[in-house]
Subunit: 157 residues, 6 copies
Amino acid sequence: MAHAQFFEEYEPGSGRKTIGRTITESDIVLHAGQTGDFYPHHMDAEWCKTQPFGQRIAHGTLIFSIGVGLTASAINPHAMSYGYDRLRFVKPVFIGDTIHTLVTVKEKRRDPRRPSHGIVVEMYEVRNQHDETVLVCEHLLLVEYGRLKSAADSSPQ
Amino acid sequence: MAHAQFFEEYEPGSGRKTIGRTITESDIVLHAGQTGDFYPHHMDAEWCKTQPFGQRIAHGTLIFSIGVGLTASAINPHAMSYGYDRLRFVKPVFIGDTIHTLVTVKEKRRDPRRPSHGIVVEMYEVRNQHDETVLVCEHLLLVEYGRLKSAADSSPQ
Amino acid sequence: MAHAQFFEEYEPGSGRKTIGRTITESDIVLHAGQTGDFYPHHMDAEWCKTQPFGQRIAHGTLIFSIGVGLTASAINPHAMSYGYDRLRFVKPVFIGDTIHTLVTVKEKRRDPRRPSHGIVVEMYEVRNQHDETVLVCEHLLLVEYGRLKSAADSSPQ
Amino acid sequence: MAHAQFFEEYEPGSGRKTIGRTITESDIVLHAGQTGDFYPHHMDAEWCKTQPFGQRIAHGTLIFSIGVGLTASAINPHAMSYGYDRLRFVKPVFIGDTIHTLVTVKEKRRDPRRPSHGIVVEMYEVRNQHDETVLVCEHLLLVEYGRLKSAADSSPQ
Amino acid sequence: MAHAQFFEEYEPGSGRKTIGRTITESDIVLHAGQTGDFYPHHMDAEWCKTQPFGQRIAHGTLIFSIGVGLTASAINPHAMSYGYDRLRFVKPVFIGDTIHTLVTVKEKRRDPRRPSHGIVVEMYEVRNQHDETVLVCEHLLLVEYGRLKSAADSSPQ
Amino acid sequence: MAHAQFFEEYEPGSGRKTIGRTITESDIVLHAGQTGDFYPHHMDAEWCKTQPFGQRIAHGTLIFSIGVGLTASAINPHAMSYGYDRLRFVKPVFIGDTIHTLVTVKEKRRDPRRPSHGIVVEMYEVRNQHDETVLVCEHLLLVEYGRLKSAADSSPQ
């Protein structure tokens, strides 16, 4: 389950696609329970019938949490997530929709405050079963440089 | 539970503080179960003892979801959340920490694509029991203008 | 989220209506899991087909818990719940039904044992999407008198 | 798991004691999630330290639901629960307390509206590990008369 | 809820049938969350449409856990479960299927390592609403001999 | 997340070790809720104090489900689980213990009923933080032969 990768090894443009996950009524009920957000958009099927979208929609934080969680299949011990930029809820997700996440290395840059690490920006696109994008965000990763690590590894202890 | 507010009524600099919530081991277990992120940082107390932080830490998406959920006490029917910017995980949250969210209206701007709505940027700061900031982000709200609404309300149907 | 109210401020006949909540199969499964009540009325769809109601019904304690929970939107720091009277399960609630609670101040009386507090009786009516009453009960609140509180507040410390 | 009992067979004064159950932090977190009641009395350990009880307390509806659930070990096909009277929260229940329920047949009476059934009133006392009563209520059961049933059973079909 | 039974009292060939339980989408979501098994067979309705079984199937460990759990209605203080043999997943269980468990005493034998106990082998068959067997296993119970117990009970303390 | 492997590629004696997972009170509460097994061994801390093991222990089916779930990190599209043999609960698992699973290919054999598949027997050993074995079982996998598959792949369509 570990997949070690140094900063130098991230290639802009490369990517991967996660497995899929059907968003169920249970997920919405559990997320309301976890967050305390019981807004009628998520929890009141009758009220939703009177709204433009016509049915209950998943919480934005649920789709974000699951969309990110889907990418958590391999741990990179040299990387640390430190934030997200430009998180947008592009389309609603309904009960029964199936989502997956596309991860693409968007860019790499130096970390101005840490010479030992670089910043990798991964583009996350969460898509539904119609291949429509429902959520996007940029994931910021702090990743160790391999040359320093290698140097350290070969130094006498 | 509804608190109607038009774009004109948001005042930059004004703010509110939510109630608090203790982050429990249950929250982490449930969030791992919801997202599928069972990384040892959250789920393996033995491994965590060997790490700099020394104990299990809450998922970033959990603190984001609860931090946002804490603000969900009053629905504004004229507003719609459409995203977040500059989400950063500033400090780890441990089992037993108690967090609350500070919401401050940071700025207001026109929506270039929609004359009927403006954009309100709310600053969210999630703090722990030592009043240390653990997570920050900017919440983007699309809010209806009242003058248009009022005009529409007074027009003959 | 706090809404301070002294005994004197409760007005018999006044009331409020909560937001709605759709009762899902998940709620029943989670409530069975929380309480240990796995009776076939709630958990065995096949057996239920052979019964007069024809389908699974929600636990009485679930509808009571959610019906009461829906009223928990504003904390009154001067009040304390101490019990319920005449709790009745009037009609079954099925999976997919949407309930809300009507709260009405039914009566106020002195607390014979505590001169500083009075008893407020709130009528709770839980209704479904057809506006049929499914559960009723009387909620007993112990509420502080404002005059005493005010007197205490103005006294030298 | 079935224990058939007709109205005639309930003996006032007879009783039983359920198995015990430790109330955990998880139970409180799950009940908050199920009901939407995230009041700081249950969810904010820091705030609770400043209160007379000094720590988080279980929701009243949680103790009621579990206290009742503990009695659900044997289904009586001739009985139907239709309500509760005089439900009182006598003492707070803290995380780690272990409760059980004492069930005693308190009284029996005719159902004025139904000649085929009688009303059995069971006293429920929920007690903690110090044998202190934490919750009481009277459970109202509608129970079929056996003589009528027996007559029906022996009649030609 | 206790049903004491010594080794001598188990009769090969005798059996019982548990109550039924409908397997819901919630059960699968919760079990994935508990175990971390988010394989598309259980969680991706779209992918399942492309497979021979055409729809999501319950985890084998879920059906085993619930099938065993259904038998847990009466505690025998003289018995201890120490394992299972020949656990087989005979047919898939789909969302909405209702299962129950048939327990039959298959055989009894001496425990070569413990003169005070014997081994009882119970056959568990989990069946669905069409009375098709979906899972089988043999449950191994270590059960105390009554004669020894009785002798001990009558000995001076 | 997919790791395709044909029957020929399984090597007896080879193995892997999963990541670890701390068993929490939440896991036990959730498993009781999922299975309906609320036996005092798992749920009554007070009663457990009077027993030889002195504290609550995890359900056998919980440790089996999580122990198996830990191995579910890579899907082999050519393999199908069809059962388990010799499942034994070797030692109790307590709240706070951290478990992982060792998977070793124990043996391979022909499937007498299916020429296209062979049977792979994997030994699962679930160990705690003291490297003590708490549960063992043999996992039976039905795995496709690669030569047949390869032949099929190269045949004209």
